[in-house]
């Protein structure tokens, strides 16, 4: 017996009356298999092109409706079997009693919130959005030139992740080997336990491409290495319009369209892989970031193959005829109904990893020296790495103290270690393509090493470092960054190495800093430890984070604009209650 339908659902269903010309709505049914309410309906198109004129669908909501996901699936009974763009894989196990697996993505442009409101508004707006999707699917216009590229949803049943690194440069390498379309790939595990596609070999065993992973691979560590088969194709693996192949039968169907003989490729490259273990299959496809544009990189679609036929499985003596093994693979190992065991794969190239929030290219492509791994330096370093900087050298000779934890990127477990080296290790683990090194502090004797960098950022607030920077020649950008009491004032100075003079710096910022000093003398500073004189400057983690954000933002803008000189003081403004109201920049 159907459960009593809650009134908000009844009301919401009635709201669909406004779409009666396009959909015929059934009544809500409770599906106890998935614990969701299901609303079957039939959608009507004026003309049938890719989708029949009338098709059955099901809207599902949870009992928390309207505060829940509203999904639309093809009906299990008579629903469309193809998968279209902006739709989940429709060839998988059904979703509950009434739905196929391919729910439609209604929010390709991050518009979900716009479809939400009261119960009736929410259902009506989702249904209206679905009809737009259906119309576009019928017209074949779900992906238009200029849209961001979307891959079909693979049937991924394991939590593993394979990392690869492909960009415009690597694509040129691939393009320079036009005759190499398949071969063997070396897969290594980095010191975080992640699986990475590392080296691709051609049919003649020659190396075609080696991947430059960051220092995340400890050079002296025994690496676990695995092997697999790679092949290149011109289209993303897909069948039935836009469905990722779920079985080897479907994968073969796609390969045939690509004029590839999948069984032959596996057979030719499998000789070293018949060891009773499972190996990888990596399919590389040149991809653009937007539809209709030329490919700019490669994407890899990775699966774990079933165990290849092994001569030992044929009993004593075995079978050494590889033709027989290939036949066994084709007919049994990779039989048409065997599921493709896809693994999630992700591109770790800089433009892919940091597309959500990258610093400017001029900065990320630079070799950067960061002097000082204190509170400000550590947070600046963290922001640089997370903003796409890969080549960073940190100079500091201090050890990390437990009291630093209050405002530092390192943790209590790092206490007692070398600040620069530990911070470098942590940042290398943050980004698999980062090459962060830790070095001892800058002084007069080693200051000249800074000339090997493109950008130098001093976050040491050390007079001796400033003195060491005097008399260095070079056109490299030098940023001197520090902050005042409670990080309420942030000082940033930009010069070239040649034009920097510590005296000029003191003259420029001296007045502000002297005011600060007078102010600090009136305050009781925080006390740390039991030393006779060990006061520390006061600033909360949030204060330093704010200062670091200002510093990185300022550096990013100045580098992008190729400025060579600037002197800024950023001053926090607060109301009578102490709440931050603004940050004012004063040009000095």
């Amino acid at each position: 017996m159907n459960a009593e339908v809650p009134e908000p659902l009844c009301r919401a269903r009635r709201s669909l009356e406004g779409l009666a010309s396009f959909i015929t709505v059934g009544d809500w049914i409770w599906d106890d298999e998935i614990a969701e309410w299901c609303l079957p309906f039939r959608a009507h198109l004026k003309h049938s092109r890719r989708i029949p004129k009338t098709t059955p669908w099901v809207i599902t909501v949870s009992s928390a409706f309207p505060d829940c996901k509203i999904k639309v699936y093809p009906a299990l009974d008579g629903g469309i079997e193809d998968t279209h763009p902006h739709q989940s894989n429709n060839g998988l196990e059904s979703h509950g009693k009434y739905c196929r697996s391919g729910n439609v993505c209604l929010f390709p442009e991050n518009t979900e919130q716009g479809l939400r409101g009261s119960a009736d508004f929410t259902l009506l707006s989702h249904a209206a959005r679905f009809l737009q999707w259906l119309e576009s699917a019928n017209e074949g216009s779900l992906i238009k030139d200029g849209d961001h590229v979307e891959f079909p949803m693979q049937n991924i049943r394991r939590r593993d992740l394979v990392l690869y690194c492909e960009d415009g440069v690597s694509k040129m390498i691939w393009d320079s080997h036009p005759s190499c379309r398949d071969g063997v790939v070396e897969i290594t595990e980095n010191n975080l336990g992640q699986t990475c596609l590392s080296a691709f070999y051609g049919a003649d065993s020659g190396l075609i491409r080696g991947v430059g992973w960051g220092t995340i691979f400890e050079k002296d560590r025994q690496k676990r290495t695995d092997w697999g088969i790679w092949l290149l194709a011109s289209s993303v693996p897909h069948v039935r319009c836009w469905q990722s192949p779920n079985t080897y039968g479907e994968l073969r169907e796609w390969a045939k369209e690509e004029k590839l003989d999948l069984d032959d490729i596996i057979g030719r490259n499998a000789s070293t892989l018949r060891d009773g273990l499972r190996h990888y299959l990596a399919i590389g496809v040149p991809c653009s970031s937007k539809a209709g544009e030329d490919p700019i990189s490669l994407s890899w679609f990775v699966a774990i193959m079933p165990t290849l036929a092994d001569e030992n499985e044929f009993g004593k003596g075995g079978i050494h005829n590889h033709k027989v093994l290939r036949t066994v693979d084709r007919c049994k190992t990779f039989a048409s109904n065997v599921l493709v065991d896809w693994i999630d794969s992700t591109n770790c190239s800089k433009d892919q990893m940091f597309s959500r929030g990258s610093l400017c290219e001029e900065l990320t492509d630079s070799r950067i020296a960061l002097i000082g791994a204190g509170s400000l330096g550590s947070m600046v370093a963290n922001s640089l790495i997370r903003g796409g900087v890969t080549d960073l050298c940190i100079f500091d000779s201090d050890s990390f103290g437990i009291g630093n934890v209050a405002r530092h990127h390192l943790r209590a477990c790092d206490a007692g270690t070398d600040k620069a080296a530990t911070l470098a290790a942590v940042l290398n683990a943050t980004s698999p393509i980062a090459e962060v090194k830790g070095r001892s502090a800058i002084d007069k004797d080693n200051a000249s090493t800074l000339r090997g960098f493109d950008i130098i950022i001093d976050c040491s607030s050390s007079p001796s470092v400033l003195a060491a920077l005097d008399n260095l020649e070079g056109s490299q950008a030098l940023f001197v960054c520090s902050f005042g009491y409670a990080a309420e004032k942030v000082y940033i100075s930009l010069n070239t190495l040649s034009s920097f003079f510590s005296e000029n710096y003191r003259n420029t910022f001296g007045e502000l800093m002297r005011e600060e000093a007078a102010f600090v003398q009136e305050k009781e500073l925080p006390w740390e430890g039991i030393g006779c004189w060990s006061p520390v400057f006061p600033a909360k983690n949030s204060d330093v984070s704010r200062a670091a954000s200002i510093v990185v933002d300022c550096i990013d803008r100045l580098v992008e604009k190729r400025k060579t000189r600037a002197n800024y003081a950023y001053i926090s403004k607060r109301d009578v209650d102490g709440s931050l109201t603004a940050i004012e920049r004063v040009e000095l």
Binding site: R13, R14, A20, N110, R116, G117
Partner: protein, 366 residues
């Protein structure tokens, strides 16, 4: 598809609210099941009893929920093999007296053609009949419990069928319906007051309703329910025609091929209005007797005036430009059980609302 407002979802919910509840349905089926079990177990009746089945508006899916404080009633036809030559109508009814006294003491009363049994949640009319020939006595439909308690809507619903009769498939039941000759022979019913046996054909009424409902894409029984609801709730002071005569009239006036309940209600009311205030003669399904015989011309004329007004209102509702106006008009016709749509929102306001929320979301990331 046209832009006519068929208000399907609104009528669905309206009909849900005027149907018997699941509890009320269960009470009827339980009462019938208990009566049937008691009859089958009664040794004094075992020689004459052929079968029992439900009939009436419940069976035809044209029943509406009872008025507050009232019980639903259901007709249970008891098919016997007694001979008209051997039993007078009074004697035929008296056959059940001992049975009723034993199982329903103080709960039964003698009526003209039946026994009324008044239970807590259901009223049963026990209607003794005589099967005129062997063929009907052995009718697969009557023999078969499939047809004893399921209503027409349940019969057309594979899910309900499989729940009730899991071992049978819908197709075997369809075959049973097709092959049965239940439409051909009326039953005989004893009229104690007139002291005659009369023909009755409940099975023809049921089969006619099934066919009509199929011709109307399943909307016909709902049109009957809606019009019965209108008449009972909007004109509670006026009684006739009611029950089967009203249903029969609707059946004659409802066109085949209607696309929705809304269309069925409008066209039926308009057709009745068009017939004029003179009481029509309506021969029963399968029998020549006039089902309107007991309705007076005066009552019918009053009924007709109400129908004319209702037809105009229904037409306004059906032709309304927007869902809100339509729902308001339908509510005027049927009362508060008909759901009212929210006040109309202009397209600009709808877009503005969506836009406002979008702007908010664009400013909030986590």
């Amino acid at each position: 598809m046209s832009n006519t407002l068929h208000m399907k979802t609104y009528f669905d919910d309206f009909l849900k609210s005027i149907r018997l509840s699941e509890e009320q349905k269960k009470a009827l089926v339980d009462a019938h099941t208990e009566l049937r079990d008691n009859l089958n177990a009664d040794t004094s009746l075992s020689d004459v009893l052929v079968s029992t089945f439900l009939q009436g508006s419940y069976r035809r899916s044209t029943i509406i929920k009872p008025a507050s404080g009232q019980s639903s009633d259901v007709d249970v036809v008891v098919v016997t093999n007694i001979s008209e030559e051997e039993y007078t109508p009074a004697k035929a009814l008296d056959l059940f007296l001992g049975f009723l006294e034993e199982h329903y003491p103080n709960q039964y009363e003698r009526q003209g053609r039946s026994w009324g049994i008044h239970l807590e949640e259901a009223d049963i009319d026990l209607v003794p009949t005589s099967a005129p020939n062997e063929a009907l006595s052995e009718s697969a439909a009557i023999r078969n419990s499939v047809f004893s308690s399921l209503d027409i809507e349940a019969l057309s619903n594979p899910e309900a069928l499989s729940k009730a009769y899991g071992s049978r498939t819908a197709s075997t039941i369809d075959t049973l319906i097709e092959s049965d000759d239940w439409k051909s022979d009326p039953l005989r019913i004893p009229d104690r007051e007139a002291n005659v046996w009369e023909s009755t054909d409940p099975l023809s009424q049921i089969s006619w309703t099934i066919e009509k409902n199929a011709k109307c894409s399943g909307h016909y029984v709902n049109v009957v329910k809606a019009i019965k609801w209108w008449w009972r709730t909007q004109h509670p002071d006026k009684k006739y025609p009611k029950g089967y005569p009203l249903e029969h009239l609707v059946g004659d006036c409802c066109p085949d091929g209607i696309e929705s309940v809304a269309e069925g209600v409008v066209t039926t009311l308009e057709a009745i209005a068009k017939m004029g205030p003179s009481k029509p003669v309506l021969p029963d399904r399968g029998l020549p007797n006039d089902v309107m015989a007991r309705v007076s011309q005066v009552d019918y004329a009053v009924f007709h005036r109400c129908i004319v007004d209702a037809a105009m209102l229904a037409r306004e509702a059906f032709d309304a430009e927007d869902v809100y106006t339509a729902s308001k008009k339908w509510r005027d016709l049927f009362g508060n059980e008909f759901p009212l749509a929210p006040e109309p929102e202009t397209k600009a306001a709808f877009t503005a609302r969506a836009g406002a929320v979008t702007t908010l979301s664009e400013a909030n990331f986590a």
